[in-house]
């Protein structure tokens, strides 16, 4: 893969902090992932190590039963990818799927240096979840990804 490859604007990676905050905190993380859940043509991408991290956070902050139930649900939503052991789970998931978006609360991941490093592999934007809500406009993206006029959300984001 080269930096010339166009990223898939319909593919989104949420780092483990966003995944756990979606479940436990709501707010910007949930708003961002609701956009993903509400559109069948928008794909959440995640590797097993990424889901492992989120499950561990949920277990640490809440309980193991909730973490396991969340894992089952999240795995049913996400498109699974593999990457080398030891790679950053969110960045490597994005690279594996050529995803255009990585959502994270981690300022270090969003730094220019990290973005420059990441762009060697894939032209991905690393943003905070509130930034994603501003950046990702389904109505604008739909004609490129699916074609035709945007029909609005086609899934219940809370089902």
């Amino acid at each position: 893969m080269s930096a010339d490859d166009h990223p898939d604007v319909s593919r989104v990676v949420a780092d483990a902090d966003i995944l756990a905050a979606d479940l436990l905190c709501g707010g910007a993380a949930r708003d961002a992932l609701d956009v993903v859940r509400a559109h069948s043509w928008v794909t959440l991408v995640a590797s097993d190590p990424l889901l492992d991290d989120a499950e561990a956070i949920i277990e640490a902050c809440a309980d193991a039963r909730l973490a396991a139930d969340w894992r089952e649900k999240a795995a049913s939503l996400a498109y699974a990818v593999d990457h080398p052991e030891g790679d950053h789970p969110a960045l490597a998931s994005a690279a594996a799927a050529n995803a255009a978006h990585v959502l994270t609360f981690d300022e270090r991941l969003r730094s220019a240096q990290t973005n420059a490093t990441l762009k060697r592999y894939v032209t991905t934007s690393v943003t905070a979840p509130d930034g994603f809500a501003r950046l990702f406009d389904p109505e604008r993206v739909y004609p490129e990804v699916v074609g035709g006029d945007y029909p609005g959300p086609d899934r219940d984001p809370r089902a």
Partner: protein, 31 residues
């Protein structure tokens, strides 16, 4: 399978903050 709404209701009962989540992830990844 459980609805997202129901999972969110269970998750919200723990009164977890974004700072708690970030701290837990940092601790895990520093290991």
């Amino acid at each position: 399978m459980e609805r997202w709404d129901d999972l969110f209701e269970r998750g919200g009962a723990y009164d977890v903050t974004v700072a708690d989540v970030r701290e837990a992830l940092a601790a895990r990844r520093e290991r």
